[in-house]
C-alpha cells in the first residue's frame, strides 16, 4: 500500500479523499492555489504545497507544477478527484511516465471513453445498446425519410455542429419531416454557419440512470448498482438518488451486466460510471463512461456500505477486488443534494464571499461532505460547489422527509446558496411520487420562486433584527475593535471579548 498520496484537487472532494487516506494510514499532500491558502483541504492535509496563482490554469490545471510537488514530497500516487485534471489523458500519461501511480483508469482507456464517437462504436460492437441514429449527412430529403422510418418516430433532428438546443427539433410523423429538416437546417446555418443536420431517435420522458463500477487490474469487475440523476438544471445534476424509481430488479441486473460489458470492452480499470438514458418504455441506451470518482459517489456508498475512495486507492495499489457481485446488496434509500454557492432567486448567479455563520445538519442517516467552515472565504475562481448533503433512510419516503429536515437545519449565512431551491424540489409532489425525468426542473420549476416565503418566518426574522438593534447586539457592553483596527465587528472576535471598552458602535 502507498505511504503518501498527493491530492490534485480542492474543496469538498479533496477533504473526502484526505479522510479516506487517514483511515488507511496513508499520509496526504494537498496542493493549493494562492487563493486557497485558508481553504479547508489545506488545513486537513499532512502537508500542503502551493502550486501557483488563483487562476486554475496556473495551479490546479498545471500538470508540471503538480508533478513537481508530488516528486518533491515523494508522493507515490496522485488522486485527481473530479473536474480539473481528473479526465485528462495527458495527465495520467504523464504520471505513468514519471512513475507516479494515477488513481484512476489507465490513460488508454481514459482516452477511449473520453471520445464519444469512438467509445460508442466500441461498445456497440460489444452489443451494448446505443441511441439509434445516424451521423451521416444527406442532401436529399428522401434519404432522411428512409432513415427516419428505420429509426422510428418520434425522431430528433440535431445540428452536426450543434449544442445548446439550436437546430434541434422533434418530429412526430413523416408528414412533418421535410419542413422540420429544412427549418432545422436554416437554424443550424444561422447558429453555427453549418447547415448539416442528422437524425436520432427521440427519447421520450428520459431518465438519467448510471451504474457505479469498480474494476481491479486483474480483470475483476463489479457494479455497485445504479444512481438516478434525472434532476438536472442546465444539464448539471443537482439531486441524485439510489435506488432509481424507474427500474426493477430484473432491469437492474440486466443494465448492471451491460455496464460491466462496457468496462470490459473499453479495458477500463479503477472506479468508473457507465451512464444510460432510459425512455418511458424502459428501453435503455448507453451514453458515456465517466472516467473518474463522481460527485454523487456518496449515494452509492450509503446504500452499499462500501467506501469507494478506499477501494479506488486499493485498486491503484494493485490489490485484488475482494468484492463478489452476488454478495453485494442495495440497502434502503439514499438521496444527495448538491449545495452550490449560487442565488436561485437571481438566475442562479454564482455567489462568493465569506461564510459568516454555519450550522451543519446532523442526526441519524445524515452525511455531509463539505469543503467549508465558518469564517472561510468562497473564492470566485472555481466551481461553486460548497458541499453535498446526503441522507439515508429505510425507504424513499423517509429519505425525502429526512432530507427536508436536514436542509431546514443547514444554515449558511454570508453567501447565497441553493438550499431553499433544493428543499422545494424534494417537497414537490411529483418528485415524491418518483416522476423524475431530465426535464423535471424545466417542467415544474421554470417560474421558481413562485412560492412566497412563509410570512411568519419573515415576521420572526424582523423581530430578531429589531431586537438585535434595540439591544445593540449581544453583550452590548463588550465592544471591541477588529484585529486590524480598521473594521469594527464584534463577531469577528467572538470568544475573545475585552470588557469595559467604550468604542462607538458601528451599528
Amino acid at each position: 500500500m502507498f505511504k503518501k498520496i498527493l491530492i490534485a484537487n480542492r474543496g469538498e472532494i479533496a477533504v473526502r479523499i484526505i479522510r479516506a487516506c487517514r483511515e488507511m494510514g496513508i499520509s496526504t499532500v494537498a496542493v493549493y492555489s494562492e487563493a486557497d491558502r485558508k481553504s479547508l483541504h489545506v488545513q486537513l492535509a499532512d502537508e500542503a504545497v502551493c502550486i501557483g496563482p488563483a487562476q486554475a490554469v496556473d495551479s490546479y490545471l498545471n500538470i508540471d507544477h503538480i508533478i513537481k510537488a508530488a516528486q518533491e514530497k515523494k508522493a507515490e500516487a496522485i488522486h485527481p478527484g473530479y473536474g480539473f485534471l481528473a479526465e485528462n489523458p495527458l495527465f495520467s500519461l504523464r504520471c505513468e511516465k514519471e512513475g507516479i501511480v494515477f488513481i484512476g483508469p489507465n490513460s488508454k482507456a481514459m482516452d477511449l471513453v473520453g471520445d464519444k464517437v469512438r467509445s460508442r462504436l466500441t461498445v456497440e460492437k460489444a452489443g451494448v445498446p446505443i441511441i439509434p441514429g445516424m451521423k451521416c449527412i444527406y442532401k436529399e430529403i428522401s434519404k432522411y425519410e428512409l432513415e427516419a422510418n428505420k429509426i422510428g418516430y418520434p425522431i430528433m433532428i440535431k445540428a452536426s455542429a450543434g449544442g445548446g438546443g439550436k437546430g434541434m427539433r422533434i418530429v412526430h410523423s413523416q408528414e412533418k419531416l421535410k419542413s422540420s429538416i429544412e427549418a432545422g437546417m436554416r437554424e443550424a446555418k444561422s447558429a453555427f454557419g453549418d447547415e448539416s443536420v442528422y437524425l436520432e431517435k427521440c427519447i421520450q420522458e428520459p431518465r438519467h440512470v448510471e451504474f457505479q463500477i469498480l474494476a481491479d487490474n486483474h480483470g475483476n469487475i463489479v457494479h455497485l448498482f445504479e444512481r438516478e440523476c434525472s434532476i438536472q438544471r442546465r444539464h448539471q445534476k443537482i439531486i441524485e438518488e439510489s435506488p432509481s424509481q424507474a427500474i426493477d430488479d430484473n432491469l437492474r441486473n440486466q443494465m448492471g451486466e451491460v455496464a460491466k460489458k462496457v468496462i470490459q470492452a473499453t479495458r477500463y480499470n479503477n472506479a468508473g460510471t457507465v451512464e444510460f438514458l432510459i425512455d418511458k418504455d424502459k428501453n435503455f441506451y448507453f451514453l458515456e463512461v465517466n472516467a473518474r470518482l463522481q460527485v454523487e459517489h456518496p449515494v452509492t456508498e450509503l446504500i452499499t456500505g462500501l467506501d469507494i475512495v478506499q477501494h479506488q486507492i486499493a485498486i491503484a495499489a494493485g490489490e485484488k477486488l475482494g468484492l463478489k457481485q452476488k454478495s453485494l446488496n442495495q440497502n434502503g434509500h439514499a438521496i444527495e443534494c448538491r449545495i452550490y454557492a449560487e442565488d436561485p432567486q437571481n438566475n442562479f448567479l454564482p455567489s462568493s464571499g465569506k461564510i459568516l455563520f454555519l450550522n451543519e445538519p446532523s442526526g441519524p442517516g445524515i452525511r455531509l461532505d463539505s469543503g467549508i467552515y465558518s469564517g472561510c472565504e468562497v473564492p470566485i475562481y472555481y466551481d461553486p460547489i460548497l458541499s453535498k448533503l446526503i441522507v439515508w433512510a429505510e425507504n424513499r419516503e423517509m429519505a425525502c422527509q429526512r432530507m427536508i429536515q436536514a436542509l431546514d437545519n443547514y444554515v449558511i449565512l454570508g453567501v447565497r446558496t441553493s438550499i431553499s431551491f433544493l428543499k422545494d424540489i424534494i417537497s414537490n409532489s411529483s418528485f415524491q411520487k418518483g416522476k423524475t425525468t431530465t426535464d423535471f426542473i424545466e417542467k415544474h420549476f421554470s417560474d421558481w420562486p413562485g412560492l412566497k416565503k412563509d410570512k411568519k418566518n419573515r415576521e420572526l426574522s424582523l423581530i430578531a433584527a429589531a431586537f438585535w438593534t434595540q439591544k445593540k447586539g449581544y453583550k452590548p457592553e463588550a465592544q471591541e475593535r477588529g484585529q486590524d483596527g480598521r473594521t469594527f465587528s464584534p463577531w469577528k472576535t467572538l470568544g475573545r471579548w475585552r470588557l469595559g471598552r467604550s468604542e462607538k458602535s458601528g451599528t
Binding site: A341, N346, L349, P350, S351, S352, L356, F357, N359, I380, Y381, Y382, D383, P384, L407, D408, V411, L413, G414, I419, S420, K423, K453, D454, K455, N457, R458, E459, L460, S461, L462, I463, A464, A465, A466, F467, W468, T469, Q470, K471, G473, Y474, K475, S489, P490, W491, L494, G506, T507
Partner: protein, 169 residues
C-alpha cells in the same frame, strides 16, 4: 422603540416595547407578546404563546443576514441620513451611469470603447466568476464616458467598470 428595515424590497416598520420581562411587538398590523432571549451572539430565541422559534442572525455592515426555520432574509437597515426621496432617485440614476459587476470576477472582454453610443440592453462587458460568464448590459441609452477596467482585470461589485453619460441632445 420603532425600527425600520427593508426586506425583499419592501419597507417595513416594527415596534418593540419592553413590558416587564416580555416584549410587545407590532409588525405588519399584528401584535405579539413575546419573551426574547439571546442564546449566543448570533442566535435569538423567541417565545410567542409557548411556541419557541430559533432565529439565526448575523450583523453585517448594512443589515442582517437572518435564517428562520429554513427561510433566509437579508434585512437591510434604512439609512437615517438618506430619508428624502430625492436622494434615492439620484442614487438610482447614479447606479445606471456607473456600470458595475454583479459580483467580483475577472473581466473577459470590454465590448465597447470610450465615446461609443450604447443602447438599452447592449452588452458592455463580459465578466467571469466561478467559471460562468456574465454579460453586463446597459440599462440606459447613452454614451460611454470612461472605461476603468480592461480585459484580465479583477473587479468587484463596488467599483465601476465604466461610466456612462446621457446623450446631450
Amino acid at each position: 422603540m420603532e425600527h425600520e428595515f427593508i426586506v425583499d424590497n419592501e419597507f417595513v416598520k416594527i415596534s418593540i416595547e419592553e413590558k416587564g420581562d416580555k416584549y410587545i411587538i407590532g409588525v405588519d398590523d399584528n401584535e405579539y407578546k413575546a419573551d426574547i432571549q439571546f442564546l449566543s451572539s448570533s442566535i435569538v430565541s423567541i417565545n410567542i404563546k409557548d411556541q419557541i422559534y430559533r432565529v439565526i442572525i448575523k450583523r453585517e455592515k448594512d443589515g442582517f443576514y437572518v435564517h428562520c426555520q429554513g427561510d433566509q432574509y437579508f434585512i437591510q437597515d434604512v439609512d437615517q441620513d438618506e430619508e428624502d426621496v430625492q436622494s434615492s432617485e439620484e442614487k438610482a440614476r447614479e447606479d445606471m451611469l456607473q456600470v458595475k459587476a454583479t459580483m467580483p470576477g475577472k473581466v473577459i472582454k470590454i465590448e465597447v470603447s470610450e465615446k461609443e453610443e450604447v443602447r438599452v440592453g447592449q452588452t458592455l462587458a463580459i465578466v467571469e466568476a466561478m467559471k460562468m460568464e456574465n454579460e453586463i448590459k446597459s440599462s440606459m441609452e447613452g454614451i460611454v464616458k470612461k472605461i476603468f477596467a480592461s480585459s484580465g482585470d479583477l473587479v468587484d461589485s463596488d467599483n465601476p467598470i465604466m461610466e456612462l453619460e446621457e446623450k446631450k441632445e
